[in-house]
Structures are given as C-alpha cells and as structure tokens.
Amino acid sequence: MVSLLRNQKARNVLLQVLYVGSLAALVLAGVMIARRNLAEQGITSGFDFLYKSTGWDVNFSLLPATANDPYWWFFLIGIINTLFLGSVGLILATVVGTIVGLARTSSNELARLLGRTYVDIFRNIPLILQVFFWYAIITHLPTPRAAHEAWGMLLTSRGLYVPAPNVGGVAMALAILTVIAAVVLPVWLGRTSRLSQPIGKRLAIQLAGMAAALACAVLVLLVARLPDAPLLDFPALQGLNLKGGLRIPPEFSALAIAIAIYGGSYIAEIVRGGFKAIGKGQVEAALSMGLSPWRVFTLVKLPLALRAMLPILANQYVWLIKATTMGIAVGFTDFFMVVALTINHSGQTLEAIGILMAGFLTINLSLAAVFNRINKAIALKGNQLRG
C-alpha cells in the first residue's frame, strides 16, 4: 500500500478518480435530494410540464401569447425577447461606443476630454443602478393624457409610443430582413473588389445595391399594407388611453438605454484600444505614400483596428447578452424571467434550471462560433505586424 502511494502513476490515477468521482457524487446526491424534496411537494420530475398551459401572462412578446399557451411556447418567447433586447442593446451600444471611442482617439483635446468623461462616469456605475434609474425616469413621465409629443412619437409613463406601419407581422419581418440585406450586401459586394476598382465605381455599386434593397423593403410594406388604412399609424389619445402606433414598454426602453450607455462606455475603450494597437510605422508609411487622411483612416487604420478589436469585442457582446437577465429587476420577461416564473408557478425547479443552462450555453457557444469564423476570415496571414 505504501509503495503504491509512492508510485507516481498510481498516485495520478488515484487523484483523478477521487476528484472526478467526488464531483460526480456531489452532483448526483444534490439531484437525488432535490427530486425527493420535490416529490414530497407533489411535483413529478420530467419534461411533461412543457406541454401544459402556463396560466400566467408575459408583458412583452414579439409572438402572440396568452395564458393558455404551453410552457415551451413561453420559453421560446423568453429566448426571443432576450435575443431581441440583446441585439437592440448591442447595436445601440456599438453605435454609442464607436462615437465615444472615436472621440477618445481624436486629435482634438476637447473631444478627447468629453469622451473620457463619458467613459469614466458610466463605466463606474453598476449597470443595474442605471437600469433602475432609467426605469424610474420613464415611469415618472407624464400620464398619457399629458404626454410629451415629438415627431409623431408620444413619451408617457406607460411607454414610448411610436408610429407603426399598418402591416402584418410577416411582412414586417420581411421588410426588416430586406433592410438588413441592404446594409450587409453592399459591404459584401465591395469586399471582393477592394482596391482593384476605382473608389467611385465601388461606391456606385454599393449605393445602387443599397437603394435597390431599400426599394424592395418599401415595396413589401406597400403591398402588405392592411386594406383601407394609411401606411403609417400614428398614436393618438382616445379618452383616457392611447390608441394606435407601436408601444415600447418602459421595461424594454429602460434596459435598452442602460445597456446602450453602459455597454457603450466599455466598447469605447475597446475601440480606443484597437486604434492604439496600430503601429505608428503603418500610418507613417501610408501618409508618406501621399494618401489623404480619410483614406489612411479607411484603408489602413480602420482595417487594422478592427482586427485588434474583434476578439475583445466578442467577449463584450457575450457579456452584454448575459446582462439582459437584469430584465427581471424591472419586470421584463426575458428568458431568465420566464425560467424564474416557471419555477415559481410550476415547481419544476431542476428542469427549468437545466433549460436555463442549456439556453445560455447555446447562445454563448453560437456567438463564440460566429466570432471565431469572422476572426479567422479577417486574420492577417503570418505575423508581420507583431512586436
């Protein structure tokens, strides 16, 4: 026995078996106890509950939802809400972050100061505090009767009312897809023909592509328009309530604003870091070739900075998606809140936690996979820029 313990190989095997074994035992014991405890409360384990109707409602959904719908449908709604809030938050945060980040790298001292103040303030206040703050601000807006009005939009304590096109959901989705294509396609087209064509021609191709796609989007909307209604439906006061238009609930706007502002401060730092990582030599070389500052920026600085930023940006995006779980603090029914409500109402604790983990794992892994592909596609060959 003693000699066995002194044997390196025997020791290694023993250590591994002990470690993995005790972890497995711990998890197993936890699950067993939980199942027994739950069974005592009359809850049978298994995923049958997914097909039962929930009996409760969600306050925000892109898909039709009633209290009669089954659990699985609510989980789907939760995931879509999370992804929707996440992508709105990501886009806004990226826009804010890019502007602030560019200000921070600008050659103008005042702009730099402004950017730095922004980052220093909003980065150092917890996100959830910012969510609470914006939520309080929005819910303290005037009632619908005394709503602020601006460009056809109404600001009220019950949410932001914006004009909405009078079209069905499918057509709307189609139109949105076309607009996305309008942005992505020209970039894709321009990509293949980088420098081999004069800049005017490339620009013309891109603009033409964008225009065509936008036209398609408008066409879709026009064709799908509900009969006997104007294309745009403006919100208006009717009695004590607001009718018409699209209501963006305060929970959603508070979260989106907070994520945009807080995330923007982080992305600004990433943008700044990306530009800082560009070698002085590259810029000097480009300037010495007589390129204009604008073309130095688009042809040399931006591509290099993007490559430096992307891996860190990916992490930040994953973090921001996870931050949507703060929805539960103000009552936005994101994925996590659906899980929490499920546990409250149905008692299917283990299953719901399992679904939660699987959901976030899937979201994380797929985001990571997407970014890895982009990273690989744009990575510089060799490492001539290092050191």
Binding site: S3, R6, N7, Q8, K9, A10, R11
Partner: protein, 254 residues
C-alpha cells in the same frame, strides 16, 4: 519498494542502460548506455537535436524516459516519487537560460532550496549561500535581484544556487550558450575550479577548450546515439567516426 540510501558509497555515480526516449513518434534517444564514475568529468557535445540535453535532463527526471534504466548514486529512477525527490536533492543542475527566480534576491535564490528542501536553519543557509557566492566571485551582488545582473553573473549565481544544495553530481546544460563571448570565460573559470575540487560533472557544452582542459572523457552524440566516447587527447586528435570529425571541424572553426 524502499529505496537504498542515496549517499552510499561504491558503484558509479550515474549508470544509464539502454535508455529510450520518445517525443510522440520521434525517437529522441536510442538505447543509450553510459556510466559515469564518482569524481569523473564528462563533456557531451553534438549537433542540436542530437539528444544530449534530453539525456542529461533524464538524469534528474526533468524528462521521463520511456525505456531502459537510470541509476543515480545507487538509486533507480522510476515511478517511485520518493526516489525522484531523493535524487534531485543530490543532483544539481545549471541551465542554458540560468532560470534564476526573478522575484528573489541573489541571496534568497541561493537560500531557498537548502531551507525548504533540506530544512536547514536560516543562519546556516545564509552562511552557505555567502560562501558559495564568494566562490563564484560575486559576494557583493548578494542583495541584488537577478534582473540587475549581467548574463555571466547570473549564470555564476545559478551555479552557486545549485552548489548550495551540496549536491554530489552537477549537470550543466549548455551553460555558456546564451552568453556574450566576453562573459563565457568567467563562467568557465568557475566550472574549472569546481572540476579541480573533484565534483562529479556532466556538461553539455560546445566549449572544446574547456573539454580539453578538464574532461576525463568526451562524448559525441548524434541522432539520439552516442557515436564517439574517448579521453580528450584521443577525441581531438584521432577520432574514428566521420560525423565526429565533421562536427569538430565546424566547432573548432576556421
């Protein structure tokens, strides 16, 4: 399996029999046999990738061998953890890149192992450390950090650090390869002194002058095998093997 006393006298210092070592599918050492007597000084040379470093790293188990037997001071190196500890205590090693601990002063570098491995009291460890620093001729640098020293000085500290454990065998793994030419001499001087005091030394080095002066035997390795093994005068004047001759003409230069 209870190991023998590592300090017992009699028998060779190191005995290597049919040593095999693989890195994946690469056969780094092929059935190497070598025996080193106590007090003997061996110089091993050979082109890079010939397995010479791998071989001496097997002697204190920085590399695990895949076949054959290694016996150090009468104790066999195997999976027995106690044997490994025992052998490492008795075998000092000097590395190409010094590997001094950068977060400790020179003195602490020399004291740490005797204190925590040999459990010597602090005062004794410090006295020993200062004595060996004196011996490698840098007592005045004791309170500095390794980063503040030149390469040659760092390597001498590394030698002192190894000696502070009062080992019976010293391994040198290309101790002068990372040094600027003007610093090589100061390190070799220390090594010559050490040799003259009867330390068992196994040196991987390309310093042929050093080999000629102190080595009892010079060994030439190539392709994971010992190709030539002879006393220096014979090695440098009448080597039998073609590869050895080629190598010597490259090293001894034009």
């Amino acid at each position: 399996m209870i190991s023998g006393n590592a300090t017992e006298s009699g028998g060779p210092a190191v005995r290597i029999e049919n040593l095999d070592k693989y890195y994946g599918s690469f056969h780094a050492l092929r059935k190497v046999n070598l025996s080193v007597e106590r007090g003997e000084r061996i110089v091993i040379c050979g082109p890079s990738g010939s397995g010479k470093s791998t071989m001496i790293r097997c002697i204190n188990r920085l590399e695990q061998h895949n076949g054959g037997r290694i016996t150090v001071l009468g104790t066999e190196l195997n999976d027995d953890v106690g044997n490994i500890d025992e052998i490492r205590r008795e075998v000092g090693m000097v590395f190409q890149h010094f590997n001094l601990f950068p977060h400790m002063t020179v003195l602490e570098n020399c004291m740490i192992a005797p204190m925590i491995v040999r459990k010597r009291p602090r005062t004794e460890a410090e006295a020993t450390a200062r004595r060996y620093l004196e011996k490698v001729r840098i007592p005045e640098q004791a309170m500095k950090f390794p980063g503040q020293l030149s390469g040659g000085q760092q390597q001498r500290v590394a030698i002192a650090r190894a000696l502070c454990m009062q080992p019976q065998i010293m391994l040198f793994d290309e101790p002068t390869s990372a040094l600027d030419p003007e610093m090589i001499a100061e390190v070799l001087d220390v090594m010559v002194t050490l040799a003259s005091e009867g330390m068992t030394m196994i040196c991987v080095t390309h310093e042929m002058g050093f080999a000629r002066r102190v080595a009892d035997r010079v060994i030439f390795m190539d392709g994971g095998e010992i190709v030539e093994e002879a006393p220096p005068e014979e090695f440098f004047t009448s080597c039998r093997n073609e590869r050895t001759r080629q190598f010597l003409s490259q090293v001894l230069g034009h």
